[in-house]
């Protein structure tokens, strides 16, 4: 059995760490899949899917690391007008941070629930907000 659902989120700031763990848990529970896998995949190229501990200080350290690694004022090649968009790119920082964080995560499903460590939480991280964002959650496996 395969169940595909979406999580929608409107970010309100330029960079935002949004914890989607409970929504993913609910989707897994309602899917009817008892044993298998759940994949959490972002639909965007300037967001990331992160698994980490849900502490503000951890979020801060991760954000600071990425900001040092991908500074806002570097001479990015993407900072120019894009004719097929009719708009200026200027979001390389988002693309590069999103690439470093990765676009998905996966967890086992057993007994109809996610199997994960006690400190593991799932985040949608927006690096080019504010924007309306979408995450796919696909649950695959046996129903018995």
């Amino acid at each position: 059995m395969v169940v595909l659902k979406e999580i929608r989120h409107l970010s309100k700031s330029v960079e935002e760490y949004f914890n989607i763990t409970e929504e993913v848990r609910r989707i897994v529970k309602e899917s009817g899949v008892m044993n298998g896998l759940v994949a959490v995949i972002t639909a965007h190229t300037t967001t990331g899917i992160m698994v980490n501990e849900a502490l503000p200080c951890v979020e801060r350290d991760i954000s600071d690391l990425l900001e040092r690694t991908v500074p806002p004022d570097a001479p990015y090649a993407h900072a120019h007008f894009l004719p097929d968009y009719g708009a200026t790119g200027n979001n390389s920082q988002g693309h590069l941070k999103g690439m470093l964080m990765g676009n998905h995560c996966m967890f086992p499903v057993a007994g109809g629930q996610i199997v994960c460590g006690g400190a593991q939480e799932i985040y949608l991280v927006d690096f080019d907000g504010p924007q309306a964002r979408k995450v796919y959650v696909e649950v695959m496996g046996e129903t018995e």
């Binding site: 409107l10 968009y85 200027n90 907000g129």
Partner: protein, 288 residues
């Protein structure tokens, strides 16, 4: 407070009622890969950089393309839905036979706050006699005119109509009409500066993000294309913050402008006081 003096509400969901109309707007404006937006997403973008009000600019292309990039009725409807945050302008194609009648209807019946013209898309010279009656109508009502100037990314928009020197004679004929030539008339920035220092009723806006990052672009505009003190010394009451949404993202332009050194009074003018004076024709000493 920040007022965004230049946005095109092409993707605002309440006026995205059919795909054919939306496709016309996108193809005429030359913007793709974006879709209809709800108010909460629109306001999130405004709120993140403190934009309290935005001015919506329609473009009437009746005789040049057979349609409109937002009609006057749509502009009025969007303002009715969000009074206080959205300020609607009118647009009329000067070559329409009923141009003057439609402008009077838009200002007097719909209550729109000024006239938006686009000489390059509407293919008229700013001192074309066909437009003269429209300027007179605005002057009589003490409402401003925003005219797209400089380069336009829109398809089928010859730059010769956007040369700021083309505007001088109509400016001279209308010394009491508040006129904004958009985009700093880029690439004719110094010609635009010349017009502002000659004519105090002439304004421009900051929606210039044609090359480089926002930070590089704004710093170059305010410190290289112009001398680094020209704005605050010469015409600090004549430049207005503007994003040209959906072409450029407002918060990125605002973030870039925050980094350009200038006096506080000049910055206040840039972000909102000049817009209030341009829109309503009087000085505002506070954010009230």
């Amino acid at each position: 407070m920040v007022i965004d003096m230049h946005l095109h509400p092409i993707f605002y969901k309440p006026v995205c009622t059919d795909e054919e109309t939306l496709k016309f707007r996108m193809d005429q404006f030359g913007v793709w890969k974006q879709g209809p937006m709800d108010w909460d997403e629109i306001f999130a973008e405004m709120d993140v950089c403190g934009i309290e009000k935005s001015v919506m600019l329609p473009v009437d292309l009746t005789t040049t393309a057979g349609g409109m990039i937002i009609s006057n009725d749509e502009s009025a409807e969007l303002e009715r839905l969000q009074p206080g945050r959205m300020i609607g302008f009118a647009s009329v194609d000067p070559h329409r036979g009923d141009a003057a009648t439609e402008l009077v209807r838009a200002l007097d019946e719909l209550g729109l706050h000024g006239l938006s013209l686009h000489p390059s898309k509407q293919k008229f010279h700013p001192d074309d006699p066909a437009a003269e009656e429209l300027y007179r109508i605005c002057e009589e009502r003490n409402v401003p005119v925003i005219m797209h100037a400089g380069m336009s990314w829109e398809p089928d928009a010859p730059a010769k109509y956007g040369d700021p020197l083309q505007f001088e004679e109509m400016i001279m004929r209308h010394p009491d009409l508040r006129i904004c030539l958009t985009h700093f008339a880029w690439p004719w920035v110094r010609e635009m500066v010349m017009l502002m220092i000659k004519y105090p009723n002439v304004y421009t806006d900051t929606s210039v993000l044609y090359l480089d990052s926002p930070e590089e672009s704004m710093m170059r505009l305010f410190t290289v294309d112009m001398g680094p003190r020209w704005f605050e010394r010469g015409f600090s009451k004549q430049v207005m913050f503007a994003s040209n949404t959906p072409r450029f993202r407002a918060f990125k332009l605002k973030r870039a402008l925050d980094k350009v050194p200038m006096r506080k009074d000049a910055r206040d003018g840039l972000y909102y006081k000049n817009a209030l004076r341009f829109l309503y024709g009087k000085e505002y000493d506070s954010e009230d």
